[in-house]
Structures are given as C-alpha cells and as structure tokens.
Symmetry: D2
Subunit: 331 residues, 4 copies
C-alpha cells in the first residue's frame, strides 16, 4: 500500500485513450490541432484570456514561466521550502541565467504579505543587491495547504505595489481547487502565470504553463524550444491535458485523492502537523511507529525526525486509505 | 500522402504496448526498474561500457551530452548546417552557458578532417578566442548521408590529437546503421557520447543519451534535472527505448523507412541532390513541379529555391512511396 | 619603432593630471562628482540625451550595451570579422547568456543593408531559429574604414523596420570622427548605444558606454555591478573620460594618430589593402619583406598570409611614421 | 572626518609612482614585464607555488576564482552575510552560470565547521538538490573578525573530506595578516584560491587572484577575458600590485588602518558589537547619538537599527581617529 507520492500514480485510462486517439498524422511540434486548442480551453476554464503551452515537467513549467518575468540580474521571492528552492537542482538559476531566489518565511510553507514585505525591506543597497522582480507561490503549498482567495488578493496587492510578477506553482492546483470548492479563477487569484499540474493528477508527462499576460507567449515559445522542451510529437502532451479538462476529470481525480487523504487524516487525528486540506499529509511519528506501519505494508517517505509524509492520489484505494488511518490510530 | 517529416510518424504499436505495461506502480524519476535496465542494454548493444539516460527530445540529448565536454568559455566544432546550429534556437548556447559553435564546411553536411583542421587552424589568438573543446557530428547528416567507419576513424584521430570531445547527434542513427549494414559500434565509431534517436523512428517522446565516458553520467543527471528533463514518470520513456531495442525493432523500423525512400529515389533519378542513403531525400524541383506534385496529394517541405526535402518513416506506405517516385519521374 | 597597436600607447599627460586631481576623498562607486558629470557632458557632445557609464574595457562596454537590447534567446547581427565575434573570447555569449552572433558579410569589415537583410532573410523557421534583436556595427571597422552618415542612415532604416536595436562599437570612434570631419552625432548616426573608446586613444583603463535610450541605464548599472565592473574608485575612470572630452583632447589625439597613419600610407601606396582612413593600415607584404622591415626596427603584427597590420596612435613619432612609409616604399 | 569606507581612501603615493613608471611602451594585456612578474612574487610571499592574475575589482576576483571550482549545477557554501551573498548583485550567479550560494551561520560573520557541516547535512535529495562544490570564507570577515590559523585548518579538513574547493575572499586580507601577526601563508591557510585585495588598502583599481592550484590559471585567463576584465594596459594593474608588495607596503598600510581603528575602539569600549581586530568597527548607537556624532563632523554608515559601521584606512588621520574615539566615549 503505497503512499509515497502522487508522482507514482498510474496514468488515467481516459488519458491513455486520448493519447491513442492522437496517434494520427498531424503536423509536428505545437502546430497540431490539439495543441492549438489549448488556449481556448484554458481561457474558458479561467474566464480570462490566457495562452496555454505544454511542457513535460513542473520544473520546466515553473522556470519557463518565471523567465517571462525575471531578468538575469533580478530575484524571485519564494518560500524557503518552495519546490523551486528545494527540489529543482538550481533549475531557476539555469533558466533565469543566475537570477536569485529570495527566501521568505511563513507557516505551512505559505508566504504572507508580512514575510514578503520583510524580504523587500531588506533590499536597500541599490545595485549592490538583486532587485526583486517576481513572487512565486505554490498552490497548494509544500505542506499541503491552500491559499485562500483573500490571501491571494493580499499578496497580489503587494506584488502590484512593488511591480512584481506573480507566479503560481500549481503542481497540486487541482487538489487546491477541489479543497477550496471555488472556481479555478478564484483559486488562482490574479496571477500572471500558473504552472497547471497534470502529472501528479493522473497524467503521464504533460503540464500546462498558463500565461495570463498573453504577450509573453511568444517569448516562452522561444525559451521552450531553446530548453529542448518543444517535443516534436507534442500532440501527445496536448491530448493528455485536454483529456484532463474534459468533463472536469482533473477535478474528479483531485477530489478522489483528497478524499483518500481525508480517510487517513481521520485516523491521524492529533498527530497531523498541519490540518489536512489536500492529498498530502504530514503526520508526527516516532521511528518505531514508522517501522510498525511499514511492517504492515505501508510505504511512505520520512519527512524529518519528527514526522512522515503521506500522499494519496486519484487511484488510491479507499480501503487502503482507511486501513492506513486505522493503523495510525492504533499506534 | 505525407512526406514532410519522420517527426510526424505514428508511434509504433510495440511501444504503445510497452508503455501500457509500464503503467504499474514503480518508483519515480529514473529509479524504476526499466530505467535501471538501460545501461546494460546499450552496453550490450555497443559492446563497450556506456551509461544511458533518457530525455524527451533530441535537442536536450545533444546539449546535455555536449555539456559534459565543453566549458562555458569553450567551443564546439560542427558543420554549418548541423541541427545544433540551425534548428535548436540557440539551445547549445543555453545549455553550454554561452559556449560557441565553430562552423566547419563539408559536402553533404558532413565535416571532414580537413574542414575541422581549418577551424582549428583559425584559433590563433590565445585567450582572445574561444578554444575548441569538442567536435559534434551528425550520423546521418542533415543531408541524409552517413559517415563511413573510416571517416569516423579519421575524425576521431583528429579529436584525440587536439583533445576534443567527440559527440554524435544520432537523431537518425538507426537509419545510418541500416544503410551502412554495419554494427552500431562501427557506425558510431569511437565517440564519447551519442544522442540515440527514437522519436523519428517510431517513438513518442524519448531519446537516449549514451555516455561512453561513464564518469560523466552523474554530471549529466544533475544537468538533466536542472533542465527540467527528469520526468517523474520516467518509466514511460525507458519503456519506449527498451521496446525499440527488443528484437531490433529500431533497425527494422529504420530499414522500412530507408526502403520507402529508395522507392522514391528510383523515380527521382538524376534529380537527387545527394545519393539516397537513408530516409531523407533532397530532390531538385522547380516551383511549378512542386505545385504539380502537391496537387496530386503529396505533401513535403521546400528546402531551398532549387530543391525539396522528402522524408519517409517506418510507417510510410510503400505504395505511396512508389507513387511519389513515379510522379517525380513523370514531371 | 612600434606599430603593433594603439593599445600599447602611453597614457596622455592630461589624463594623468586628471587622475591625480581626482585623488581626493569622494563617495565610492559611481556616486562621486566626476561620475555624475558624465551624462551631461555626453548629452552636450552628441546633442541628444544620453546616459554615460564608465567601464574598464571595450569588451565590457560592448557586451553590457548589447545586454540592454538582446534577450538570452535572441541574436545579434554583426560582421563576420567584428571584434565581438573574433576577439572577445565569447564574451557576448557570456553577457547575453547564450544569445547568438549572426554573421553578415561586407567589404572592409563593414556590413551593408544588403548583407544584413540577407541574414534576416535566412531566419525563417520560427522558434527553431534565434530571432535577430540587434545589429552591432563598428565605427571605424576592423579594417580601419569608417561608415559614412548615409550608410548609417540606411542601416538604421533597416533596424527600425525590423525592430532591431542598433549598437556601435566605437573602440576607434574618435579616429572615425576625425577622419569623417563631421560631428560626433553624425558619425554615430541614430544608434541606441555606443561604446565610446578611450583606452586606444590615450586612456589608461576607461571606456564610456553611452545609452541614448536612457531608460536602459538602470538595467545596465545592475549588469555592470553584477559583472564586477563597478569599480569602487570609479572617480578615476570618470576623470580619464572627462579629461578626454575637455577641449576635445579625444579628437586631437585621434587626428594625431590618423596623421601618422597617413604618412605611412603615403609610402605604402598600391600595397594598401584598403584606403587609409584612420590609424590602422593593412599592407600587402611578403614574408621576406616583413623580415626586412623588422630588421630595420619596425614592429607590427602579421594579419594574414598576404598582409600585415600597422597601427599608429596619439603619441606615434611622425618621423617614425615617415621612416616606416619610406621603408615600405623602398621594399 | 570620514569613516565611511576604506573604498574611499586615496591612492598611495608609491602606487602613483609605480603607475607612472609603467607608462613606457610594453606589450598589451598581461604579456608585459610587470604582469609576468606576479606569479613569482606571490609564490615567494606565500611560500608555495601560485599563479597570480590581476583584475579590477574584488567581485571579479571572487567570482573568477570560484568559477575554477564550481560547475554551473553546483553550490558554494558561504556565510549568510558574505559579500558574495549580500553585496555583489548576484555576480556569483552570473559568473558561475546559475550555481547557488548555500548559506551557513556563524558568529561574527565567520562560518564554523559545525555550520558548514549543517549545510552539507541538508543535502540529501540526490540530483534534486545542488551539490556543494566549494566553501568561500572571508578573511577578515564582514564583521571585521579574522579566522585564526587553527580555525582555517579545521575548515580545510572539512573541505578536503567533502572534496570542496576552498576560496578566501581577502578584500581585507592585509588587515587580517596585520592583526594576526602571522605569515601570509598562515593567515590564508591551505586555500585553493585567494582574492588578495589592494583597492581598500591604498590601491586604485587592481586586485590579485591567487590560484594555488596553478593548473587552473589558464582556465581563469579565458574566463577573465570573456568577462571583459583583461585590460589592454594591464601593466598599470600589475604596477599597483607590485608596488604594494615592495617593502611590505601592503602590511604597513594595513597596520596604519588597524591602528587608527584601535584608537576609535578605545573610546567605543563596551559599545563594540565585536572585538576590534582590523580596520572595521561596529558600534552600538542610538539614532540621537548618531546624529550627535554627525553634527561633530564624523561621517559613517548606519549598519542596522542598533549599530553603525566605522571604517578606517591607511591614510586615516590618527587625530581624527582619536577624536572619534573620544566623541563616542562622551556620548
């Protein structure tokens, strides 16, 4: 019973069908009919004009989006635990040509207007320091917590005031929307760019970069090619993303994952490090307790000395989830 | 009847089967069983130790391989018509952090020891000029011509003498091997790294970077991650590549593509700009002649004012190929 | 008798005086009184608003200026013999983060509207090729020839049409102005940025970057600091530049250098590869002839198999120049 | 009475003399006699073989040195208050092509084996995190404190164990040696590279990069040229550095600066945030107290809400220093 990562989830059958259906001759790169459909579909979904481009990974999505906002001598404010800071092997430094990540604090891996303002307040030495040019936030955060629309509005007010671009890493955006129960637009707030995740939500190898500043799309297309991310059979990436949007599969998958997590959370009770909101749980646990769970057949990652991380996904068996919850309760 | 590009070919059924079979839980990134099989399979295929890593595109494969050989202040000698020079939107400049392409001449988009030596002879100003650190050649070349083993040996002698890395862009390596009728090892020669193409040969979105200097593998893994090319469900890329190798599917596909091209070449006769060797033909043709062919339902790219490019692939219908040959002969 | 390079010339006494005078306490970096004077002085000299910043070298000046015009995925059109292509060890690739130099032809190392248009016409493959974003020309050219105002106007019309930035490498701008006998503004034409050379003209280690798009100045200040070119005692660089402008010392020095070259040119006669315009001559000469001159005590660089390069400077002794002219005439 | 920065100090008369003496014809760049003398002089000074290259600024010195140790996908451990982190506008990101600074703690801006080990211990995620490849320390630190030889040995043991390069930012290395009263070699410890500062110590615009791994010198020469830091009249930089070494002027200047600081420190007494070791003092002071001092004609920088920074230099008038000490004592 695997609770390691939503990365490890199988590909959803409807995506397989869509990919097979895409295996007809069409023009290469992103000139095929499916790829050309993306802009309109996401514009409809978010209710505001956007350009939508596929890439294979979240790292590429995040960095290409940020590259439309940040110059090589600039900086990106993000949480100290953000994926771009902790898990991307310096990809922002590569894609942004040496631009710097400027780290902000915040409970539950969420930045706050105060913590962002504190970073900005530290930039006082003119050309001797890197100027902040963007804020990147993660919806839901690395701790599995979703920004509420009011929180997004407060951050966006700050970024407007300081002329910062606003980027959202949405590797688990679907889970955040499912939890918040609001529209995708409300869950995104007034971001300039959104990395719309699919891989963790039943995809194979496709994420969408959404640019609400559509003027930036051509720049991103050049950068995507230059990074070796313009796949020649891009129709298979477009097919995955479109299948996700059809009949809101992306939300159904996210709801399923969140529900499974809720079953685990019930059993975890007071052990939860953060309230359960999405499909990612952090549960306080001693080493012997971890061993006991693993002996019962549950696999998961150690997070730190005090806690483990448990992740569910669209295909997590609810009985397994219940079993894990019960097992934790019994520890 | 489509002769635009082998990029546009469908995915081979055996690759679909392999990908479906890979859709079982496994560990993420390249830690899965299939990805871990690659080194051994390519080592066996080439008869010398190599590290094999998947990436999604040939551009990424070429640039990541070159990044193991060339420093940011260095240069890469390549043919003036090489894909890395002409078609990758400056990707080498990105991946190599500003390193420079140093352009060599040669008939049929093949460099020669003389043309490479001429580039080297032009580097005389010490630190005022970029030092050459690698030679990148394309097997088969952009003009569809294969380097013979003796040609490879001569180039390798030169690179050894000048301590240059030797990289081979093998986007159509399969077609070259099929044409040469030699072993993969003989068609590669003593290269340090080979971009082993699959996408143009019936793949969906996977190429293999082969490093015969296996010490470089860890460096390339970091660079791959940093470039956003470490896909979390990498098992699907490994599955494609392994399926290609099973029972020499890669060679069968290449032979089929080459055979179709041969049928076209028969009709093209004296119009051939270069002898037909692989699945890519350049055929002298006037504008009215092009129009006439297109009216008969053939699609293809204009190459320049004097000629068109015709490309076949593993799934090209032999009747279509014959029909095109006949149509050209009748012009 | 040294005709190797104007690089090797001594520092003009008035610059020494100015530097000594600058050795009083002032605020560091470019906040001192002298540095703050530069904008106004160059604005007056060129008759249009500009921002003027000092750097130590022409390479830094050229690359920092280009970095205000060209994105990392972009390209700079320049002559195939331009200094940025041939003599800066890939500095443009470093400062522009991998952007590409796109090489144009032209007699005497001068590009023409036709040769620039030919480069532009070759960019046809959308995101697969680097888009041109700037044109960089050298006044006077690497062959010692000056662009006439009408030539500049024709090139500027083309750059405006294609929305390219226009940069001028003015390492020997003073010599060009002295030769043309026109105003600095006319010799610069409608460029967006000019690297205004001092080092070859009697300076020690200061060049001025002039930005006629003054909005770009703050960006360049960040980039200059980031490149380690914001010297803390910048007043000594400003002092050199201001002393050059005082009473048109820069023009007097250039005229002296040009005059010395004219004396050499007289003797060279038919051997001149290009007409003598500035302080740089290319003279056809066999190996034995070169040896004969060197035996007479003249030092100079071999240019290629057919010719040598002879360079004069502000302090070249006119008798030495005459002697060299005579010696060549006697060969 | 100016206590703002040693950056603002005048140039020492013996350096002026040396520069004037260098104003004779010689070959350009670093091929002149003075530049060629540097290796031997520093080898003698440190008692172990080193290559010594001039550059104009400490930022360039630090970054070029680090570029010999760190790959673009690597990381540099340094103190969170290090100059390369706080004051160089992201220059390490530029010169190292996106490599990351990994921040360590430590009292008085000095890292400790424990704080460095803590950074290393946090690198656990394989290719998902940047690997540490170098440690950069500052002698004396940003807080004006010198590493003792035993501290250097302990850090070097750690870097050897983890195969990290060891770089020393020696912008105030002279002041550290003067304070420690040991040999230059002992004050440097077994570093691989040292940025040997001159500008703050009476120089005009020259620092020396010392590479004790002399194999790296040619790489650094390419990188220096590529960064636009190979000045054509490099003899003037070499002249400054050599004059500094003659008769230990560098140590005399540093001792003078340190002595002036000691006079100030006497008056500051308990207000000293750190013990006075070199020419930089941090003194606790309220806003009204600062105003009072400024009214008496003393100029200095606010450091933070609690303290000010006071810096002396080789030419600081000892009466001024005493006066400042007295004024602080009277507050």
């Amino acid at each position: 019973m695997q609770f390691l990562s939503d990365n490890a989830a199988p590909v959803h059958p409807r995506l397989w069908d869509a990919m097979r259906a895409a295996d007809a001759p069409d023009t290469p790169y992103d000139t095929d009919a499916l790829s050309r459909e993306l802009d309109a579909r996401f514009t409809a979904l978010f209710g505001r004009e956007c350009a939508a481009l596929w890439v294979a990974t979240g790292t590429a999505a995040n960095c290409l989006a940020l590259a439309t906002m940040v110059e090589p001598h600039g900086g990106v404010i993000c949480h100290a635990e953000a994926h771009i800071e902790m898990d991307e092997c310096g990809a922002p430094g590569f894609y942004l040509h040496g631009a710097k990540l400027l780290l902000a604090d915040g409970e539950g891996a969420k930045v706050t207007p105060e913590s962002v303002a504190a970073v900005l307040a530290g930039i006082t030495r003119g050309v001797h320091q890197v100027p902040a040019q963007a804020l990147s936030i993660t919806q839901a955060s690395e701790s599995g917590l979703a920004y509420r629309p009011a929180e997004l509005a407060a951050l966006a007010a700050l970024t407007r005031q300081h002329r910062l671009g606003l980027h959202m890493d949405g590797a688990r955006f679907a889970n955040a929307v499912a939890f918040l129960g609001c529209s995708p637009a409300a869950a995104a707030g007034p971001v300039d760019a959104l990395s719309f995740g699919c891989v963790k939500n039943g995809g194979m190898g496709a994420e969408a970069v959404l640019l609400f500043d559509v003027e930036q799309a051509q720049r991103l297309r050049y950068r995507r090619k230059r990074a070796g991310h313009l796949q020649s059979k891009g129709r298979f990436l477009a097919a995955q993303i479109l299948a996700m949007l059809d009949d809101d599969l992306w939300l159904d998958n996210a709801r399923a994952a969140n529900s499974a997590a809720a079953l685990v959370a019930e059993g975890a009770g007071e052990r939860l490090v953060h309230p359960q909101e999405i499909n990612e749980l952090f549960v306080a646990m001693t080493a012997p307790e971890r061993a006991a769970l693993r002996e019962q057949g549950f696999s998961f990652y150690d997070w730190d000395d005090a806690s483990v991380r448990l992740v569910t996904h669209w295909a997590t068996d609810l009985d397994d989830a219940r079993a894990l919850g019960t097992a934790i309760a019994r520890l």
